[in-house]
Symmetry: C2
Subunit: 418 residues, 2 copies
């Protein structure tokens, strides 16, 4: 059954709560997808340069097959003994530094960050958390209070520091965290953790110079607090030089949270941690998540890891990412609208300035470009505190010819001002 977009819009307004939002001024109906392509109800193809969740490409046959086979065999929880969650834990831990002892499975990145926060409170006795000024870490009540991107107030004990966007921001990050810890102490709040998305996806994407996270992590540890690396967006090879965003910065977190791409769209997420921290939490409480680590989610996540290995997707992300960055930098050199290209691997932010062709600048220009690219058959998002950057994070199977399509469409869009 295929409905028209207008019919879907009307039903959607009635059936889904008014909290829902759609992408694009002219919302897009998607009926199928494969690899880096999404297709609308008329069969028109769109190059997906936005969705990080289908990390190995939309509807990858190995993931679909693993999912279908396991769903037909067994789907149960972790209170019975089973091979799959253990195999998944083994394979995940093998990608992490040896300090990481064990994992806890959840279903979403929100749940993983919420659990990491619980663990840090238990392990430190503190209640103070530091996040960046336009961070997004998830949608639970507590994590919404740590996600200023959502527009709500910070939660009790939550402090925000400027994100390390650009060279100056990166250089200032350690000092900003130090000042924040001082402020926390002055307020009588005991610090529990620094929580950052290691690619700063919502803050506008920040990756260089690699290493700036080490000083900040050192500061929080000196204060008796912990460092949570939120790898929900950068994880699973997207930053290309490494499997995990924190690895680019030469720092070992106390907890790592992961989600979105973990099951290529199938809900599965996790917290990995160092043993002391997890033991301190376990002494105070148990944790059970009915769907967390269920058989089918584990099978999907194992298939994703297998495809990443077999198709050498980190290598591809590194090569395609470098190619895309070079082409975007070249575009920036000949087109003043492109102010900065930031990021690592296949997670890029493209900051836009004034565009004489459209008469727009910053956020309105970024929104215009996003909508115009959609009309040209290319899907990207926007990001950043000022909303002035394009967010580009395609499936890791993205190839140089896809980068060409994207950059050519972008150049046309910037020139046309339409």
């Amino acid at each position: 059954m295929t409905s028209s977009p207008a019919d879907l819009l009307a039903r959607r307004a009635r059936l889904l709560a008014p909290t829902y939002q759609l992408f694009y001024d002219e919302p897009l109906q998607i009926v199928r997808a494969a690899d880096v392509w999404m297709y609308d109800e008329q069969g028109r193809a769109y190059l997906d340069a936005y969705n990080n969740v289908p990390v190995v490409g939309h509807c990858h046959p190995q993931v679909v097959e693993a999912l279908a086979r396991q769903a037909a065999t067994l789907n149960t929880h972790t209170r019975y003994l089973a091979e799959l969650p253990l195999q998944l834990a083994e394979e995940l831990l093998a990608t992490l530094p040896p300090q990481f002892a064990s994992v806890i499975f959840t279903c979403t990145g929100s749940e993983a960050n919420d659990l990491a926060v619980r663990i840090c409170k238990a392990a430190t006795g503190g209640s103070g958390f530091i996040v960046t000024e336009f961070a997004y870490h998830g949608a639970t009540d507590v994590i919404t209070g740590m996600s200023p991107e959502d527009g709500g107030p910070l939660g009790p004990g939550v402090y925000a520091v400027p994100a390390p966007v650009g060279a100056a921001g990166a250089a200032a990050f350690g000092a900003a965290v130090r000042r924040c810890l001082r402020r926390m102490r002055a307020d009588g709040v005991r610090p529990a953790a620094l929580l950052v998305d290691t690619i700063f996806a919502s803050d506008g994407v920040a990756a260089h110079p690699a290493g700036f996270l080490a000083e900040a992590a050192g500061q929080v540890r000196e204060a008796g607090a912990l460092f949570i690396a939120d790898e929900v967006q950068p994880g699973f090879g997207r930053v290309a030089e490494a499997r995990w965003g924190f690895q680019r910065h030469g720092v070992i977190p106390d907890l790592v949270t992961m989600g979105k791409p973990m099951g290529n769209g199938h809900p599965v997420a996790a917290v990995a941690g160092q043993p002391g921290v997890l033991a301190a939490f376990a002494q105070r409480t148990r944790y059970f998540n009915t769907y967390g680590g269920n058989s089918v989610s584990c099978a999907a996540a194992l298939a994703v890891l297998q495809v990443i290995r077999e198709q050498e997707l980190l290598k591809n992300a590194l090569a395609s990412g470098a190619y895309l960055q070079r082409r975007l930098q070249a575009l920036a050199a000949r087109c003043a609208v492109v102010r900065e290209v930031r990021g690592a691997g296949l997670f890029l932010g493209v900051e836009l300035g004034e565009n004489p062709a459209s008469g727009l600048a910053g956020a309105p220009e970024a929104a215009r470009v996003m909508n115009a690219l959609r009309r040209r058959g290319v899907l990207v998002g926007t990001t950043g505190r000022r909303g002035d950057a394009l967010k580009i994070r395609p499936p890791l199977t993205f190839a140089p010819q896809h980068a060409d399509l994207l950059v050519e469409a972008l150049e046309q869009t910037l020139a046309a001002g339409d």
Copy 2:
């Protein structure tokens, strides 16, 4: 690959955080499942009288097929237009009273309850919540503070009232809620909501006399607060007389949360709400859940609804539930160890007293019976503040012959005292 239970236990202790717990003194390895049967690594069959999640039976072929087909076609989020989430919302709303306007999808019951709490805070301006003394509503930070079963302290603004277990408890419930609201006011806390699992699964199962929830809901509304029906466990026809637990009580909640059985094990959950409440929330914030309402989850949930309809599982739950209750009542009449049989449909609590055969009583006897039933090939759990009740909530395809197996194994176990 099949590993031995001993090998799995050793790897599990190493790979999963110490927060994990296993069922049974002798943990059970499960390698496959179908309908009401689970199978261990040696091919031994166990009658599943415990797992409510596989509501239409383990690995139901229609659900597996829907899942596999959709996973091969498209799996994306709700920021594009698509038919599936709307169709699912329509079908869910058709099972709810007409006051329910629209839904928000999440991935887990924990996320649904956490979101319901956020909505109630926004809609009332209050921060006070009432739960029952041994309730369980989920595992996020905020919801853990509303889940005293977990053993932790109640969260700020959270108050607990005795659960309406047994006839006396049910009769006292409305007054307990009224006194609690008075206490809240005295503490200067503005009430936001009463949050109850409408079958009181963790409190030991409470269902009769139907209607006791109406007085309590009336009390909280008089105080300007809302009533959240947590249908994560009782929902989807398990209480048999109705699709939802609250319907047995002749009360219309402001918000309904649902989860566990919704996708037959595939992670999908939701909040359904009355329009005013949802609008008040939407005015203050947006909400997005990457996996919530994803295409594959919706396809699985739609298949579950279809199977419930086509196989007339509510009718089966009513008939099998009544048969099982009659047989358990008969057992209680001839065996003094069985003190009370509580519940509705296929959600039952069987309270145990002193057993001369085992020399145990209450919780230790319930734990012994649960373990001994596992050795006899029947899976049940335990519940209740005192831990003295067996928890029975099989897939809704449970038939009278399965009830016979269960009751006969239970009678042997009570007599043997082994």
